[in-house]
Amino acid sequence: MLASVDHINFAGLAHPVAFINSESLYPYLQTIMRDWVINRIEPDDARPPVITIQKTEAGFERRSNWLSNPAVFSDPVDAACDMIVDLIHAYVANHKDMLCLHCAAVEFNQGLVVFPNAYRAGKSTLSLKLVESGGRLFTDDVLPISNQGDAGLALGILPRLRLPLPDQISSNFAKFVENRCGSQNDRYLYVRLDLSDQAALGTTAPIRGITILQREKNAEPQLSEIKKSTVVKDMILRNFARQKPGLEIVDRLYSIVEKAACYRLQYDNLEQASNLLKEVFG
């Protein structure tokens, strides 16, 4: 059987992605990467694919510059989801002046607030809860930092929740998610937010707050100021764009942290967290 090979261009990336017998992934990628212009192009020797994904008996097998070994996923949602990690690496590689933080970010009345990633702290679920409460999502996972004014930049990629959803979520929030169900499998659910709930690709906003999440069972809800050094240290760990000199990265991160209100949010459930954040950031 002849292999079907497509070179797919993701607008904003310098190189295309080669899909070999993998066109069944297109609908997932087109939905999840909500604002990205994705189109088929003619193969061009000057622009070789930076990622190759091929349907094999084992599943969708992906190779890229950012993988030491091929990644294989039998489930198309998992395959698309993991491929987005590589697409973000490609995006960062094409935007050498940007920093890129592993974090969630939500815009409040007071401005953009960043939630650096912490293991199982629930940043995606909290981000969506904040959207349900009136905030605008910039990202639930990755935030590029523009070299112009160190503003956060929205990537227009739908947020993803881990399933099952926590037991204690309110019925309103459950309904909010239910009404926006996108691609999903037994582990993950993408949430289809529209432009009023999630900033469009390329939208920028200055970072006004940084909040380190600390979710603990039965914890007293508390939002407390923390030392800038703690936040700088955390942000250094969350930045995965390392194309600029280390000193410049530290200086830029410090400059961002210096201008932001920095807190640690200790919480047990989403309602507590959302109420405290709205009190401070509007």
């Binding site: 800038k228 050094s229 280390g246 000193l247 990265i249 530290v250 410090y254």
Partner: protein, 104 residues
């Protein structure tokens, strides 16, 4: 003798050796913490309070045993053996990471 860097991974710092900051290393102070940046590798190191104290001592060339004595004066209630071990561990670690240079 002019201090020089060493690439031997497990070299043990000697008490009579002289140590000094690697002049290439950049530092940034935030609150009471310090970040060191190696421009050759772009690695960033975070110094806790004790490491920062040692880093301050290393502004000028200093022998290991002199550094131990100074730290001992700051923590008179801590056993000299523990302080010597802690200082030695820190100096070794900084040396392995090329943050400090050493000479005999």
């Amino acid at each position: 003798m002019i201090p020089s860097s060493s690439k031997k991974k497990k070299e043990i710092c000697k008490e009579n050796s002289i140590y000094v900051r690697n002049p290439k290393i950049a530092q940034r102070r935030v609150d009471d913490s310090v970040f060191l940046i190696d421009p050759d590798t772009d690695r960033v190191f975070y110094l806790d309070a004790l490491s920062f104290g040692i880093w301050n001592l290393l502004e000028k060339p200093i022998r290991m045993n002199d550094a131990v004595n100074i730290v001992q004066q700051a923590f008179p209630g801590t056993s000299s053996g523990k302080i010597a071990r802690d200082v030695s561990t820190l100096m070794n670690r900084m040396h392995r990471r090329h943050l400090v240079l050493t000479g005999a």
